[in-house]
């Protein structure tokens, strides 16, 4: 029993959402209360329950974390992840059940909690450290490390309100990163800062994990979870639906996300409102497959294969028929155009009637996010039918590069390889090997 770091037993949390107007006001005033009481006196409907909604943010959750384990908590928004962390951080009390934590707990629900803009970097380090539970002796001892980690050396005596947002976040994370609890509870703190700093943060968490500390890590970032955690739990609507090895749980989560998605997997284009009025209806159907013969529901894992199947009807035999798919991101930017037009051996629709063209994408390397697909049908290079933004699909995160991190800029990932030109490529590296002409410019074989 002694190697258990965290035990959660039947933990439940009930939230009551107030009446609509109270919710809108965010807080009650006595006047509201009095008005409500008076009104309910004269109203026949005295059932309070009709005016308040109760829901279980957490519903009977039990699990155990052993010492030194790094456990990811995944689930969609509203699944109860934050509530779980808030209870385990003792910010809010559970309604039922209990949890026991063995060891000193440090919880990071955000970075920079309690930072005051008027105080200098130095002062904020001490203040924030004290808020996170460090003693001032401990902070003094780690002060230089914190400043070095945050890369703000020359501004340490400047009020943080003069900092750039990047500097602010770096300093905030630096303090948090030097917390040395036995049980660390982290919530999405990686979603801050620039790419380079995020990498540094993730590295620091890996380091904490590798020092045998127990970590509970909540994130939407599947790549980070896969990279960091050896176990994971999957929450859905306040219930723990699955726990186990990270890869199993992540697969389960992605599968679930795919199945539950409400985006269209097969769209009837015959009377689609997505067709501008001027166009003649020829396109009839669009289907999306993640794998051969498996109809997708609109979510696809990054790097996974994807097939678009487009059906159309012609009244007569047409020699040159081309289909084009245009992908726009959530901001409406065109990120990709795929067309049969560009292919050397274009498919040819024989005769009149219904035809179906398929577009196979062996590995969809768009960055995670929502994308809208538009379909264009051209005859002899003239656009005759189109349906715009007719299908939405979602690219889900996966550990594409195997390093647990994904870029935050750009649109795509591509296979690529990095190495030091002074040294042999990684697979041929020998200790003590000196610069070799052979390695210069030698392309990576992937």
């Amino acid at each position: 029993m002694s190697d258990v770091a965290l035990r959660v037993e039947n933990l439940s949390k009930l939230y009551t959402i107030g009446r609509a107007h109270a919710r809108a006001a965010a807080y009650d005033t006595l006047r509201d209360q009095i008005a409500y009481r008076v009104r309910s006196l004269f109203s026949r409907d005295r059932r309070r329950s009709s005016r308040t909604t109760q829901f279980w943010a957490l519903d009977d959750i039990s699990f155990e974390v052993k010492q030194g384990e790094v456990v990811g908590v995944i689930g969609r928004n509203g699944a109860g992840k934050s509530t779980l962390l808030k209870i385990l951080s003792r910010i809010t009390a559970p309604t039922k059940g209990r949890a026991q934590i063995y060891g000193r707990v440090g919880s990071l629900l955000e970075v920079g909690t309690g930072f005051h803009p008027e105080l200098t970097g130095r002062e904020n380090i001490f203040l924030n450290g004290a808020i996170l539970g460090m003693s001032s002796a401990e902070i003094s001892r780690k002060f230089d490390d914190i400043v070095a980690f945050s890369e703000i050396e020359q501004f340490v005596d400047t009020p943080v309100k003069r900092y750039s947002s990047g500097m602010y976040v770096r300093l905030a994370f630096a303090v948090a990163a030097h917390l040395e609890p036995e049980v660390l509870i982290v919530d999405e703190v990686l979603a801050v800062g620039d790419t380079a700093f995020q990498a540094k943060c993730l590295g620091k968490i890996s380091e904490v994990a590798s020092h045998g500390r127990t970590v509970l890590f909540v994130s939407h970032n599947m790549a980070a979870v896969q990279h960091l955690c050896n176990k994971a739990i999957f929450l859905e609507q306040g219930k723990l639906v699955f726990e186990g090895e990270t890869s199993d749980v992540v697969d389960r989560y992605l599968h679930k996300a795919t199945r539950d998605s409400h985006t269209g997997h097969a769209v009837d284009l015959v009377s689609s409102p997505a067709r501008p009025p001027a166009y003649k209806q020829m396109l009839t159907r669009l289907e999306l497959y993640t794998d051969r013969n498996v109809l997708s529901t609109g979510s696809v894992k990054m790097g996974a294969p994807l097939t678009f199947q487009i059906s159309f009807r012609t009244d007569r035999a047409v020699p040159a028929m081309d289909l084009t798919l245009v992908f726009n991101d959530h901001l409406g930017r065109c990120v990709l155009e795929l067309s049969s037009l560009y292919q050397h051996d274009r498919p040819v629709a024989q005769g009149s009637g219904e035809h179906t063209f398929c577009c196979d994408i062996p590995s969809l390397t768009l960055l995670p996010g929502d994308y809208m697909v538009s379909v264009f049908l051209d005859i002899n290079g003239v656009n005759v039918d189109r349906v715009q933004d007719v299908l939405r699909f979602n690219v889900l995160e996966s550990d594409y590069y195997g390093g647990g991190r994904l870029p935050r800029h750009g649109f795509f990932v591509l296979k690529n390889h990095w190495y030091d030109e002074q040294q042999q490529p990684a697979h041929a590296r020998r200790p003590g090997a000196h610069a070799s002409i052979r390695s210069v410019g030698q392309p990576a074989s992937h």
Binding site: M1, A93, A99, I101, T113, L127, E138
Partner: protein, 289 residues
């Protein structure tokens, strides 16, 4: 059940939390958590220090406000109550008579107005980090002590100017100082917890303080209150505090001991009930703040 694992502290730092943390729906009621408060004393210090540090930030004359505020009030009081209303000052120069009362009064009113909104003001901390919540109104109460010390220095100068020397009663001053702070904290505990649910507190407190000042012998002497109302009047703990200050610093007639006792009893009741109410409410702070 699990054995309590001793907290091995690799960092050598003092462990702030107990090795086993048990999280349950209802905490032990009436448990003050004094030990935990003590463990978090540095946070209390840092929060009070932060309040003091930022109080006069981006002002032209900075901490000089701590001097000007009581002095200007004293001047206004002298003009209004002495020169116009001709209020009695028990035979002392009115400016000193007023300033001696303004010291504890300003400490009290500042502490009360800060602490009553403190939990809401620190909602960001409360919804993100765990620490004993009592620290929030406590630090808001204590952060007024620096201003008090500055004003006390002004009083010393003024007393020297008027040639008023305190006697051995001066040694009792900390008692009355403690009484003033405890009163502010007790009421602050009540109001800060209520303010989480009902923001009306923020609007009501300025009026409360204004009325409270007129109900306290700040601008006038407690002797001006007729004998038959005395006991009722002394239900206000500030009566005892201010009378005590005048006795300790100026050596006015010794206040009726019954006033001090009544004040102390009232404050004790307020404090205990304030803590119980606060502890009962604090578990829901993060959910409704």
């Amino acid at each position: 059940m699990a054995v309590q694992r001793p907290a091995p502290d690799a960092t050598g730092a003092s462990s702030l939390r107990t090795p086993v943390i048990s999280i349950e729906p209802s905490g032990r009621l009436l448990s003050l958590g004094i030990g935990e408060l003590w463990a978090y004393r540095e946070l209390l210090y840092f929060l009070a220090w932060r309040d003091i540090k930022i109080r006069y930030k981006q002002t032209a004359i900075g901490a000089a406000w701590a001097v000007f505020q009581p002095v200007l009030t004293m001047v206004i009081f002298t003009l209004v109550f002495r020169n116009i209303a001709n209020v009695s000052s028990d035979g002392f120069p009115y400016p000193i008579f007023a300033l001696v009362a303004l010291l504890p009064w300003n400490l009290f009113s500042g502490a009360l107005s800060r602490s009553s909104v403190s939990v809401v003001a620190e909602s960001n901390l409360i919804s993100k980090v765990y620490f004993p919540r009592l620290i929030v109104p406590l630090s808001a109460t204590l952060s007024g002590l620096v201003d008090f010390a500055i004003a006390l220095a002004v009083l010393v100068v003024l007393m020297a100017w008027y040639g008023v020397t305190p006697n051995v009663h001066l040694l009792t001053l900390p008692i009355f100082l403690g009484l003033a702070l405890t009163t502010a904290l007790s009421v602050g505990l009540w109001l800060s917890a209520i303010n989480v649910r009902y923001r009306d507190v923020g609007y009501a407190v300025p009026f409360l303080i204004q009325m409270w000042m007129f109900a306290s012998p700040v601008a006038y002497s407690a002797n001006a209150v007729s004998e038959k109302w005395r006991l009722l009047y002394s239900l206000n703990p500030l009566t005892g505090v201010i009378e005590g200050f005048r006795w300790a610093l100026l050596g006015v007639e010794r206040p009726d001991p019954r006033i001090i006792v009544i004040s102390a009893v009232v404050v004790t009741i307020l404090l205990v009930s304030g803590i119980v109410h606060f502890k009962r409410m604090e578990r829901t702070f993060a959910d409704i703040v």
